[in-house]
Symmetry: C2
Subunit: 244 residues, 2 copies
């Protein structure tokens, strides 16, 4: 599929709406994705309202896509609807635990990614906001997510106003293991990361951040151990707070 091979994340959007019917059709396609036991333990919050987007923005560190995209989708783990159905049908649900948090995340993410592929095929551009797992509590509060509902992926969607170059990926042999996990030798790591390290934009990244290596930009600036540990605690706490 050409739209898969040519894809890039789009962060700038035209000031042009997405028709409700088109969005609905794409979501309908997304909901055909595989789901555990055909239980569909996920929900999607569709944010179009400017005020609501402005209230979501801080949770996403004010990345401009949140307020500039015509549509923001928050894909959520949702064990609530299914549990409510059980309770109304003389059945005792047992889905308020870690296993179902993970199963719900899988369900939600397969639907989210199917949506993205379908949307890109129609010429729309998307951007995943990794911030969803950094500040889940703010999102829970803003979108009024009740117990057993948890945000796992946020996607901004719109008609592209830019066509950025495709970013690099590791060589496929970096990711694929035949039959069992083949651990990497130091020489493998050097070889597999050589192209990424050779790119002028990555060299510039190192210079701008006054670092010695590209890896240090990740560990010292973008995703530090200290931040990751604080986010782990907040994520865990939010998960528990939602009843899992």
């Amino acid at each position: 599929m050409n739209s898969l091979k040519q894809r890039r994340t789009i962060r700038k959007y035209q000031q042009k709406d997405i028709p409700a019917e088109l969005l609905n059709d794409l979501l309908k396609d997304a909901f055909r994705a595989s789901t555990v036991g055909n239980m569909q333990v996920y929900s999607v919050i569709v944010t179009r309202d400017a005020d609501r987007k402005a209230r979501l923005a801080p949770a996403h560190f004010h990345q401009p896509m949140v307020t500039e995209a015509p549509v923001v989708l928050t894909f959520c783990i949702d064990l609530r609807r299914f549990s409510q159905w059980c309770e109304q049908r003389k059945a005792e649900p047992g889905y308020n635990n870690f296993e179902w948090f993970v199963n719900g995340a899988i369900d939600a993410l397969l639907a989210a990614q199917t949506f993205c592929v379908a949307a890109e095929e129609k010429g729309l551009g998307i951007c995943y906001l990794g911030t969803t797992t950094y500040n889940p509590q703010q999102i829970i509060d803003t979108l009024q997510l009740p117990q057993l509902v948890f945000p796992i992926a946020t996607i901004t969607v719109g008609w592209p106003e830019e066509m950025p170059p495709q970013v690099d990926r590791l060589p496929v042999e970096a990711i694929i293991h035949d039959e069992y996990y083949h651990d990497y030798t130091p020489a493998d790591i050097d070889r597999l990361y050589a192209y990424k390290e050779s790119l002028p934009e990555n060299k510039q990244f190192i210079a701008e951040n006054h670092k010695e290596t590209l890896a240090q930009v990740f560990t010292d600036v973008r995703y530090t151990k200290k931040d990751s540990e604080a986010m782990s605690e907040a994520l865990w706490k939010a998960m528990k707070g939602q009843g899992f």
Copy 2:
């Protein structure tokens, strides 16, 4: 996309291999999916060997797809490769925590689902095995997954030998919430589950299991509270055991 609208899970496959080049191309497409910070914190284990498939089978409760499909793919969270790169580049990685377990799961699942869409577009059939999160430790042992690597989704792939009817899905309005989470009233639940409950195959399911409601088939037979709690503990323990 027609292949999205028409899709169904395929559990019976022709005795016909998938050419290595085709599989590689599809995985390459999959690796264009969005990934946190372009870090690609996932790996894919490709199992074709009959012995290895037989060894994976118990972890998947001996579902026949594991040994009958020409290819079994195990998508894994992988913070190991990235951490090794950091360590070889004078950078201290801080990715052995819950935040990165979840980020790795997101990365792995977006790639997995992109693979599935691309594969189905080529006429292949796929089946996700939910058992991956039930018995992770057996999979870890069989595929020799080292620290910071964790199996999150298993997909069997092959040329379809069956064309089962499409299964039902909830109405789209069951899943979509405008602007914020709209909690379900008892009447909403009745309405949204009415079609599912009306299906002859689901009525048969109730009768076969000697239950009163379809929900009870889930809570008492398929996914009990007791099993879910035991699986939660095992999943948690396996996650910790892999160093997260």
